[in-house]
Symmetry: C2
C-alpha cells in the first residue's frame, strides 16, 4: 500500500518484530449506572434499539465456532431494523456467519470489518471487492492491543454464553452449549460501552465462576438456543493416519526433543488439526521417556493437552480458547486449566503476556517462502481463506516451528514469495516438511544442535522450494486489480501486507 494511503488510514508500515518499550495510555468504557439486579429481557430487538446507533462498532466472539447461533440471531435483527454503516469487530468470523455478513454488507449495514480472518464465501466475496473499505486483519493479541489502546472502540458487544445469572455473571463452562474458555470475549466484556449477553440458560444468582462479571453487563437476553453443541468443536479426538502428517509430527518431536528448550519446566503451544495432535502424542512419549514435565501448555487447547495436565506431564494449561469438547469440558473440572483473556495471552503492548514466556510454538502455514515469511491468510489463488489467529503472537516463542507439507494438491506450500506476508520470517526458527527440516540461518545455534542428530534431515528453504517446484511446477503469477481489499496488521499495529482484489 502506498505511503500516502497508509498515512491517510493512520497506519504505519511494519518495521520489526521487536516491540520495544512504548508507554501506552489504556482506554476505558463509559458505564451507565444501574442497580443491575435483574437484566433479563426477552427481545433482542428491544436491546438493539436501546443500544445501537448508525455508524457504531459492534462485536461478537467466535468461541461457539460453527455452532454459533448468537451472531445470526442478532444480525437478523440489526439488518431488519435497517441500521447503516456499522463496523463489525468480532474476535473472528466462522463459516456459519458468512451468509449473514455478506447480506449485511450488500445492504449497507456493515461497511467496515476487522477480524482475525475469514473463510469460504465471505473470503471470496471480499477478495472480489464485495466490501468497499479494506478489512483490517488482526491477530488475537493485536485485537486485544487495539481494544486496550482504543484503536478498536466497541460500542456494543453481543456475547453468547452457555450460562448466565440474571445479573450477567457468566462463563463458558456450564449449560448445553459449553465451549470452555471465554478468553477472546473477555476483552469485549471489559472494554465495550454496552455489553449484551445472550444465553439459553439463566441460572440463579450468583453464577460462579464469573468469567464475565455482572459489573460489565447491561442486558441478558434469554433465547431458545444459543448454540449447537455438536458444531462447537470437533467431538472425539482422532489422531491422523496420514503418513505424511505422521512423519512431520514425528520430525517436529525430534526437533523439540533435540533443542535446548526441551528441559524440566519447558512450555509449548500446539494448534489443532491432525498433525498438531500427533505432535502432542509423540511429545508425551518423549516426556515420559526423559522424565521431563512442562510448566505450561498454551493456546487454543485440545483434549490431548488436557490429558497431559491430568497425567501431571503438564503443570498448567493456559487457556484462551478450547478447540474441542474434551478441552471445553475439562476447564470446569481441573483448576489448573486457567482461563486467560486475549490480553494476558498475547497483547504485545503489555507488561508481559504469556506468549513472551513460551519456549516452543508449533504453527501451520498456507504458504512459507525462502525468507521464512508465512502466509496463513490467502490461498494459492490469492483469495482470502484463513485467519491470523494467534500465529504472529505465538511466533514470539523462543523456538517457532512451522509444519507444512511441501505441496498441497497441485500447489506448492514452500514458495519463493508468499502471496501475503502474515508472520515475518524474523520470528520463524524452524520449518518442518516431509522432505526435511529447514532452520532459519539466524539460528546457527539450532543448526549446530540439529546437525548432530541423525534423524533430522537438514535442508535449506531454497532446496525445499526447488523440490516443491519440481513436483508441481512454478506457481502461476496471480492477477490482481489495484484495489486494496484488506490490510494485514502485524501484532503491534503496523501494516505488514495488503491484500488486493483478485481478477477473475
Amino acid at each position: 500500500m502506498p505511503a500516502d494511503v497508509l498515512e491517510k488510514l493512520n497506519l504505519k508500515p511494519f518495521e520489526s518484530v521487536e516491540i520495544g518499550h512504548p508507554d501506552v495510555q489504556r482506554v476505558a468504557p463509559k458505564v451507565h449506572v444501574t442497580a443491575g439486579e435483574n437484566k433479563v429481557v426477552d427481545s433482542i430487538e428491544d436491546v438493539v434499539k436501546a443500544t445501537l446507533k448508525d455508524g457504531m462498532t459492534i462485536s461478537f466472539h467466535h468461541h461457539f465456532r460453527n455452532g454459533d447461533y448468537a451472531f445470526n440471531k442478532v444480525m437478523d435483527v440489526i439488518i431488519k431494523l435497517g441500521y447503516k454503516d456499522l463496523t463489525l469487530a468480532p474476535s473472528s468470523l466462522t463459516g456459519v456467519m458468512n451468509d449473514k455478513v455478506i447480506e449485511a454488507i450488500k445492504k449497507g449495514v456493515i461497511t467496515n470489518i476487522t477480524s482475525s480472518g475469514m473463510r469460504g464465501s465471505l473470503g471470496d466475496f471480499v477478495s472480489h471487492g464485495g466490501l468497499k473499505n479494506p478489512v483490517i486483519f488482526r491477530s488475537h493479541g493485536n485485537r486485544a492491543r487495539s481494544i486496550e489502546d482504543g484503536e478498536i472502540k466497541i460500542d456494543v458487544a453481543f456475547l453468547g454464553v452457555p450460562v448466565s445469572d440474571p445479573a450477567g455473571n457468566a462463563n463458558g463452562q456450564d449449560g448445553k452449549a459449553v465451549f470452555g474458555s471465554l478468553g477472546y470475549a473477555l476483552m469485549d466484556a471489559q472494554y465495550a460501552d454496552k455489553v449484551v449477553l445472550l444465553t439459553d440458560n439463566v441460572v440463579p444468582y450468583p453464577n460462579t465462576p464469573a468469567s464475565i462479571k455482572q459489573t460489565q453487563v447491561d442486558y441478558v437476553v434469554k433465547v431458545d438456543e444459543i448454540g449447537d453443541p455438536d458444531k462447537i468443536g470437533s467431538g472425539a479426538t482422532r489422531f491422523t493416519k496420514d503418513p505424511k502428517e505422521l512423519m512431520i509430527a514425528q520430525m517436529v518431536n525430534d526437533v523439540i526433543v533435540n533443542s535446548p528448550y526441551f528441559k524440566q519446566g519447558f512450555s509449548f503451544q500446539t494448534g489443532s488439526g491432525g498433525a498438531a495432535l500427533a505432535v502432542t502424542r509423540y511429545l508425551r512419549e518423549s516426556m515420559l521417556d526423559k522424565g521431563i514435565t512442562a510448566a505450561f501448555a498454551l493456546g487454543g487447547i485440545t483434549k490431548p493437552t488436557c490429558d497431559l495436565l491430568e497425567e501431571g506431564l503438564v503443570k498448567k494449561v493456559m487457556d484462551v480458547q478450547d478447540f474441542d469438547k474434551g478441552a471445553a469440558a475439562s476447564m470446569a473440572k481441573n483448576r489448573d486449566q486457567q482461563e486467560i483473556d486475549a490480553s494476558w495471552y498475547a497483547d504485545p503492548h503489555n507488561k508481559g503476556a504469556v506468549v513472551n514466556n513460551l519456549d516452543v510454538a508449533i504453527l501451520s502455514a498456507l504458504q512459507i517462502d525462502t525468507n521464512f515469511h508465512v502466509n496463513v491468510m490467502t490461498g494459492s489463488d490469492g483469495v482470502i481463506r484463513g485467519a491470523i489467529g494467534g500465529h504472529q503472537d505465538a511466533a514470539n516463542a523462543k523456538m517457532t516451528i512451522i509444519t507444512a507439507p511441501l505441496v498441497r494438491g497441485r500447489n506448492a506450500t514452500v514458495v519463493k514469495n508468499v502471496e501475503t506476508v502474515v508472520t515475518p520470517g524474523d520470528s520463524i526458527d524452524v520449518v518442518v516438511t516431509e522432505r526435511g527440516v529447514a532452520v532459519n540461518p539466524k539460528r546457527q545455534d539450532l543448526i549446530d544442535c540439529f546437525k548432530k542428530v541423525p534423524s533430522i534431515h537438514l535442508v535449506t528453504m531454497d532446496e525445499l522450494q526447488k523440490l516443491a517446484e519440481k513436483q508441481v511446477g512454478a506457481p502461476k503469477k496471480l492477477e490482481y486489480t489495484d484495489r486494496t481489499v484488506a490490510v494485514v496488521e502485524y501484532r503491534d499495529g503496523t501494516v505488514i501486507d495488503t491484500i488486493k482484489e483478485v481478477k477473475d
Copy 2:
C-alpha cells in the same frame, strides 16, 4: 463544612441514598510496555526510585491486617529517600502501620490521606490536627468507585502477596502468610500506573489462580518475610460467651427468621466479632430447622460462614476479604468461595454490585441516633477510632440490621445525635439492642411482621435513647475547633459529614 469549602474541594453535599443512573466515563492506567518475563528485584529502594516522584499518590492494601510487613518496609525506604507531599491511598490503615504513617506525616512525606478508616495513635494524631489537609474517608465501595472514576489516581501501588511468580501472577491463597481474598487490592492492580508486588515466596511461572495478573505488574520485590501469619486474622474462632452479645445475636436471628427475606435462596452479610459469629451460629440452626438454604453469603468472610458453605447451607461465598485464618485457607479448597474485587462487591457507580442483591446485612455501630444515623468512625470523645469499611455499602441491603449494646461502659451507644454521620438513617431498617428492637418507621411492613412475634420486643429509638441516658447520663457536649480534620464521604462521593479537630 461550609458550601464554599466544599466547592473548593470539588465536593458535593450528601443528598440521598439513591444512586440514580449517571453515565460514568471510567479511567485506565498508563502502561509501560515490557516483555515482562522476569520482574524479580531485590531492592525496594531501586523500585521506589524507578517509580516514585514527589507529589504522587501511593497505595497499599490491608489484607494482612496487623500481620502486615509490606507497608512499613516500603514506607521506611520512602521516608529515608526524603520524598515529599505524597498522597496515601490505601484500602485501609491497620494499627501496625500507625507509627510509620505518623512519622511520614511529621516529615512532610505524606500530606494527604484517603482511607476506609484509622484507629489508635493515628486516629488520635489526626483528630488533634496532626495532618494539615483533611483526610477523606471512603467506604470500600466508594474507594472502588473513586479509583474507577479517576478521583483517586494511583501512581504506584505497593501490594504485598504471599505468593507470586517472576512475572507477577499472584494470589493470596498460597505461601506462609495466606490471607485469602485479594479483593481490595485488585482495584489497585487494575488501575495503578505502576504496580509493585512484594513477596517472600516466588514460585515457578505460571502461578495460578492469578488474582493479580502479570499484565498488571511492573516489579516483583523479593523480601525475607512479607507478613506475620499469626496476626493476619483471628486464629481459632471463638464464639462469644458474653450474655449480652448472645442475647443480641439471638434477637438478630429472630428478626431475620421472621422477616419476609428468610426464604429459599436468600442472602446475607455478617461482619466479624463475637456477636456476628454468634448470629451465624443461630442462623445455621434456623436454616436447618426450616430447610432453607442461602444463595450466597457476602462480605468479609469468617470460618463459620465457610463452614455453612461446606455444609451446603450456603451455595456461594462472595469473598472480598477474609477475617480469619479458616476463611483464608478455605478459598483455595472450595471453588464456590468466589474472590470478588471491591468494584464487584460494592461500587455504586456500576452496572450492579453484589451488595445490590443482598437481602440481609448485619452491621455494627459505635453510635446510632434517633434518626437511625450510624457512626462507625468517631468515639464518644469525638476522636477518630474506626473505619467505614463496607458499612455504607452493605446498608444497601433490603433489610439492614444494626446490632449494638445500649451502652458501652459509661457511654451511650444509642444517642440523640451521632458525633459523625457515616451511614444515613435512610438505609437502616432495624436496630437490635439487648433492651429491644427498633424498626425504622419507614419500614411499616417490617413493624407489621415483627409485632406478631412474641419474642421480638419492639421499641422506638427514642425509648432506647432514653433508656441509655437513664443508665449513663446525657453525653457531655464535646468541644472542637473550627478546623476540619477529615471529610466523610457517602458511597457516591458526596460529603455526608466532616470531623473537626478535638479540643483537649
